[in-house]
Symmetry: D2
């Protein structure tokens, strides 16, 4: 049994962190200490959970994630192959039959996907002039990466997300069916949409889940359109606002949440701003069509990332409950 | 895009069911009609959800599932292989780095696993004398099976499980560290344990999650012991009681929940009784050590099976919240 | 170590074959006995090999298989996903770096594929009136199938193919660039092509590899065209001629070798004729463009199916050497 | 269809190589030019092939690779999972049945494995003082690595290996059943063994396959013993002799071919010497028991690495033919 040795191996490089880890451009500003791997999921305290549960009035559940299926839109060069492994003949006096399934996929980065803190980082110049390849809280690729999964910042460190959810319905605010590809959602848009929904900006509190509807789930059945080169989304302006509001998680109904291409010319800078610098999570490929139709703008948000040790993300079945 | 044709293909064989499906030994007794694929998850109504949320007082969350990790106990000939797929060089002016992971596994039948209704069935003699290979609600292997997953009874049909949970702590009742391998838990044991916990048997209501602690999670780190040939668990007596109480889901801290080998000489008959005949789900390889230590016998149970289309089961991150 | 028990398990059901196996419509006509699993590869004797090697004069090697690559034409719902698993940091005083790769695929049924004897069978009525689901030599699905691979007729039983190869160049004979989709190659075509090539029909001997060029490899780079609904190929007439000539292996530059759809309305009947009834192998998705350009109609044929235990087929790197 | 763009993408970074690639400690000494990716397989010329075929006298074929099977010895954290994907019901008027298989594995680095030139490299100090992470012929990890496989030095560049093979039978020379774990085979051993076999050292020519029997295949059925921490094998002394003799390929019946641990304290330095510096291949986990019993010391060696684009290695069915 290799679990114990593996754990020891994982812990060893961290043993002397207090002394040896260099100060990066943002680290050691992590609110939860230099060893933290849970990021903004730390904000979901028991009190936060109890308060969020009070939002449930009718028990109506909305599925705000997609079903994982052959032929769904896939990003980049990812694949998704599921096969049935059936028993051909019954066994036992009671003639049992059974089926298993075998999945081969980028399991945390296909379909509705929860991006963990080991998914996106960057090469950053440190105070001593050195270039470091780091992720959240300054963990380096050398510390993190192993062939069989992340040794640091694996998805298993993330706490369950049981919190207040707020949906920001941008097509409803802009009075369009869906946002145009390439459109960057501004902070003014966000404020306008919140006002339309009757939600005070100041009510957005630490630990909340703030989710953006762009209307893009309408295209889920047409992978080429859904995965267009130009996608609507938030930019750095709104990302920084999310950081200020200290949300735990954001998400949307596109495959990246952020505007693409980014007007700054940078590559997914919102991912870096949220995850690498601030430990805030991002859920992609959600769907809010039904929730929006019911004007479900505030709700209990439930999402429990699967704890695949060392994974960069997780498949997810996020729910909005009212 | 093949989603629409696939859906049509899946629906076609069902079109004339009302006329053509034969009456099996139990079907058409399914409470939710001959087309139902959600089984006992139908019992989790909005009212049930609202009532369950009222059980939460402190917001304390217990993880009652295991982390999925290399080297964990695996049943039969199942495998679990996760690999990191990293970007080697940063890209873009902002020098982004990213990692994906690739998983190859019996994704719904490893670690803490939620058994769906396409997982266990049997060959059954029908009223007309014919032998049929069927699963829940009389769906036949011919209707169900395709190389790329189940066309009927896939896990995607199961509703989220947000309900009252009850833990039946058998080692505490029997005053042992854990039950012995091969011991069949009796209904008297269950009643004694409930009495010890101060939970009235009559309080177990339709839609509840009734979970059994055998103490076996203590062995999770020793796969050979955990996967012993002789395992403690419930038998047909307790299974029938679960059916009478109309629970939605059961589960335990062993790899089969039911006693093994079964004293009747049958092969996993409790699986057939619960799933095939009654649409009741089973969660295996859970852990209740922390919950039991806190005497957490009644709680909000949260479990959201991942909707992998056509899968027989799902990985799961079940929670008990008090 | 489970190899020994697995072998025993595999052998047990065969122990009493002499007594219990029923006579099928073709079996027990298998030339190599009721236990044979090597089929027509038995025809490649040492003498045959020595004779075939004498065909080599210049040592010129032709690759007559395709490279396996992302985006290649795939049949049915098969997938092919290869991922690099790199070491991120050098290790050791000599600073070693290494890469592995991880493949998830229908490994024996993608790209240039060697169809083994467990790949195609059929439901057949036996002399006693019973319907049997059988493959080559009467092995039944019950005997053969296990979740982790075939227990009988796995590809590991096939002997290496080192034999005389004959290319039948049909487009050259018909004076077209490539055959039309849906065209059935007749025996007259085959004889005409052989005559044009200066190869006597009577020279085709037991154990030979007889390969058909349809010109279809020209479309390999356009998967939709390559995998068209209508494909040229041989039908039952030519298949029976191959059986009479006692060839060991046939093959072609399409994904099925046989005409599609078959004019008889049957589904891949040539596969059944060759494999199920006569133990003759079929290699698909080859390429003969270069070989044909050099008028390489007779050659040493080299193909060594990879011995993945229990696989239905194998990836292959077939060679023609002159 | 993405094949053409992928090819272009692969070619672009090489376009200006003549100008920009730095001179490494060994590169540009590659005999076959700065763009070469075929390494020592270039030595297998048509003339070499014709000469090798002349070694065949009886046509007797020896399998010198292992069968790939569940439970076989696996190095490091590699996995091998094969699953059967069967059709459950017959289709068509001719009632066809078929099976596919799905494989998830480090396909080129399990079982009998052919190590390609993208498998092992190192961090090397260049003439300009820079540290470069390079493989054969100076290809850098930045040029080579992509998530979906190697863009340079993939196994598809290797030419088929049809050459003279020489087996160096060390246990026979040392009069032991097998070499001891940790024993480094010396050049004196090699010369002694050759002399015993009646093969003149000077007869070993460019392009030959020189294979080492340590007797370790006797342990193949006992994975823990086979994968012992201490393994016999050649060291740098013999590796340099192989380089001088200009062999194309070496190989053995252990999982690394080279002595382990290496007495110099280095990590697999023979791999670096052969592959990274000299483009010479290595085949691991072979078996020579039968060949040695027949005193088969000189033979035609046939090995055709499967051309999985971008793979680091290949499964293999190597043959010795006499």
């Amino acid at each position: 049994m290799k679990i114990i040795p593996l754990l020891l191996a994982a812990l060893l490089p961290l043993a002397a962190y207090g002394q040896t880890r260099q100060a990066g451009p943002w680290w050691p500003n992590a609110e939860w200490g230099p060893m933290d791997q849970a990021g903004a999921s730390n904000r979901i305290t028991p009190e936060k959970i109890v308060a969020a549960f009070r939002l449930v009035q009718t028990g109506r559940v909305y599925e705000i994630g997609q079903v994982y299926e052959r032929g769904m839109p896939l990003g980049g060069t990812r694949d998704y192959a599921l096969r049935l492994v059936p028993a051909i003949e019954p066994t036992g006096t009671n003639r049992v039959l059974y089926n298993d399934e075998f999945l081969a996929a980028e399991v945390g980065q296909v379909g509705t996907q929860f991006d963990g803190l080991g998914h996106v980082g960057g090469e950053v110049r440190y105070a001593d002039g050195s270039l470091q390849r780091v992720f959240y809280n300054g963990f380096t690729t050398g510390e993190m990466n192993a062939g069989t999964g992340l040794r640091q910042l694996g998805i298993e460190h993330i706490k369950p997300l049981l919190t207040r959810g707020v949906l920001i319905d941008l097509p409803a605010y802009k009075n369009v069916q869906r946002l145009e590809g390439g459109y960057e959602v501004t902070l003014a848009d966000v404020r306008g949409a919140l006002q339309r929904e009757g939600i005070a900006e100041g009510s957005i509190m630490p630990g909340d889940a703030v989710l953006f509807r762009y209307g893009w789930a309408q295209l889920w059945g047409s992978p080429a359109e859904f995965m267009a080169a130009r996608l609507p989304g938030i930019g750095l302006e709104v990302a920084r606002w999310l950081v200020e509001r200290k949300v735990t998680v954001t998400g949307s109904d596109t495959s990246v949440t952020e505007v693409s291409p980014n007007p700054t010319g940078q590559t997914i800078p919102v991912h870096q701003e949220l995850m690498m610098k601030n430990g805030i999570f991002n859920i992609e490929n959600m769907t809010f069509e039904e929730l929006a139709a019911d004007r479900g703008y505030e709700f209990l948000f439930v999402a429990t990332p699967i704890r695949f040790e060392g994974a960069t993300g997780s498949p997810l079945r996020p729910l909005a409950i009212r």
